[in-house]
């Protein structure tokens, strides 16, 4: 009953573990997500700018993955599927936050905190909060998690060329937001 760590490259060679987890094997699921929780949480934290909301969103996404895993079409696309679940949860948090803001104008405590960090990066962090969730996601995959374009494409379930194009546009959006900040 020991949890087995997945390979050094968790995105590869996990299809068998996904299949086992999809058939109800909790150990397999634990092994599957053990190498992914950190990335999921960091992604959510960077998109939402709030620790508690990031934890909730990542937890909801991972639990949704467990519940719906038997209906995953292709085990080799687990990472793309999980990424989609996570980003959707983040979107839902942002929608709730927007509604909350409309109801209670002073609800600063539940807003994102993109101010945490050094002075040197402050304008970039503020600009990051102004671009879309999809743009934030692709920038995080490539520049925070260090995934090469091929893996970014796999996480987004798009061709490599599309990933490259979206990454370029996301970078341009961030630069424009940065100029607006200035």
């Amino acid at each position: 009953m020991q949890l087995t760590a997945t390979a050094a490259h968790p995105e590869q060679g996990d299809a068998a573990v996904v299949t086992r987890a999809a058939s109800g094997d909790r150990n397999a699921f634990a092994a599957l997500i053990a190498t992914r929780t950190d990335r999921a949480l960091r992604t959510a934290r960077a998109i939402l700018g709030n620790d508690a909301e990031a934890h909730d969103a990542a937890q909801e996404a991972l639990v949704a993955a467990w519940v719906n895993l038997p209906r995953l079409r292709d085990p080799s696309r687990f990472d793309a599927w999980l990424n989609r679940l996570l980003v959707n949860e983040c979107r839902e948090v942002l929608r709730r936050r927007k509604r909350s803001r409309e109801i209670q104008a002073e609800a600063d405590s539940v807003m994102g905190d993109f101010s945490r960090g050094s002075v040197e990066t402050a304008s970039v962090r503020a600009a990051f909060a102004r671009i879309t969730v999809d743009e934030r996601t692709i920038l995080l995959l490539h520049h925070l998690h260090g995934l090469p374009l091929e893996q970014v494409a796999r996480h987004l379930d798009v061709p490599v060329g599309t990933a490259k194009s979206r990454l370029w546009h996301a970078r341009r959006s961030l630069e424009r937001a940065l100029e607006a900040e200035a």
């Binding site: 009953m1 949890l3 999809a22 109800g24 909790r26 150990n27 699921f29 634990a30 997500i33 053990a34 929780t37 950190d38 990335r39 999921a40 949480l41 960091r42 992604t43 959510a44 934290r45 960077a46 700018g49 620790d51 934890h55 990542a58 937890q59 991972l62 639990v63 467990w66 519940v67 719906n68 895993l69 038997p70 209906r71 079409r73 292709d74 085990p75 993109f114 945490r116 960090g117 050094s118 040197e120 990066t121 970039v124 962090r125 990051f128 920038l139 995080l140 490539h142 520049h143 925070l144 374009l149 490259k164 990454l167 370029w168 970078r171 961030l174 630069e175 940065l178 100029e179 200035a182």
Partner: protein, 278 residues
């Protein structure tokens, strides 16, 4: 994508994103997720779901089914009448006594004659012992475990379903608690668990309002892979109190398989002898 602009270098972007993502505790998230997973059943895959098979595989499968149906019909129509299988009768106990000193209550047991394997321990602290009937052609299982007095059931809200409900550690009250939690528990009857007096009840999940109630067993040192007997298949629960309450869950995937397995499991139960028993 390694482009740099005068204002936004890759390095500056990476540092900004790292600061934005800082403070995340993945270990705590993993713990919370697995605790939730324990209480959340998966959706069933649709039987007709052929996603991922590919068009060729689906066509081949359909053709194979058609051929198999044709052959099957031919065989059924031409074969002689089958010989009725005798009903399984209880097996005698072997004379070999196996001692288990590291259960919460040390015990010995004997296996039914012809049954291979042994009670397999799970956990590093308070252990759960299991055995299945594959060596005697059965798909049933038997699980022996310490009772924590808690269970996961179908919660009224997702928040409440995350944590186990406290039921009771006392045998009869535990059965009542499981019934209240929605498990399909039949009436409690007096029974024996080896050399101990016990109470027992038949379990039929189709009669309960919660299709999957699981018994929470704490303190096993199993990390995220908690062992939780699940009352989501037909079975029989036997509970006794040799100092601390212990339970045996005898189960099988179907009622027919359980009927086949119960006499063997009962023989195994009869071969149990707990140290603190009378």
């Amino acid at each position: 994508m390694t482009t740099n602009s005068s204002r936004l270098s890759d390095d500056l972007l990476r540092r900004a994103l790292t600061e934005l993502a800082a403070g995340a505790d993945g270990d705590m998230l993993l713990t919370d997720v697995m605790r939730t997973v324990d209480a959340r059943p998966q959706v069933a895959r649709r039987p007709w779901d052929t996603r991922g098979w590919g068009r060729t595989v689906v066509l081949v499968a359909a053709a194979t089914l058609l051929v198999a149906a044709t052959i099957g019909a031919t065989v059924v129509l031409t074969r002689p009448q089958p010989t009725p299988q005798p009903t399984r009768t209880p097996l005698p106990l072997s004379t070999e006594v196996i001692r288990v000193p590291d259960f919460v209550v040390p015990f010995t047991y004997r296996l039914p004659v012809g049954m291979g394997g042994q009670l397999e321990p799970f956990g590093s602290e308070e252990k759960v012992f299991t055995i299945d009937g594959h060596t005697v052609g059965s798909s049933g299982t038997l699980e022996l475990f310490p009772v924590s007095g808690m269970a996961h059931a179908c919660g009224a809200s997702s928040d409440h379903s995350l944590r186990p409900s406290i039921i009771s550690g006392v045998p009869t009250a535990l059965l009542d608690g499981l019934r209240s939690a929605g498990a399909g528990i039949g009436p409690a009857t007096t029974a024996t668990l080896g050399n101990l007096p016990a109470v027992a009840a038949d379990v039929d999940p189709s009669l309960g309002r919660c299709p999957r109630v699981t018994l929470h067993i704490g303190g096993l040192g199993l990390s995220y892979a908690k062992y939780e007997p699940a009352l989501d298949v037909p079975g029989r629960m036997v509970l006794a109190q040799p100092g601390r309450t212990i339970g045996v869950w005898i189960s099988a995937p179907t009622a027919k398989a359980l009927a086949n397995w119960l006499p063997i499991a009962q023989t195994l139960i009869d071969g149990l002898s707990f140290d603190s028993g009378p």
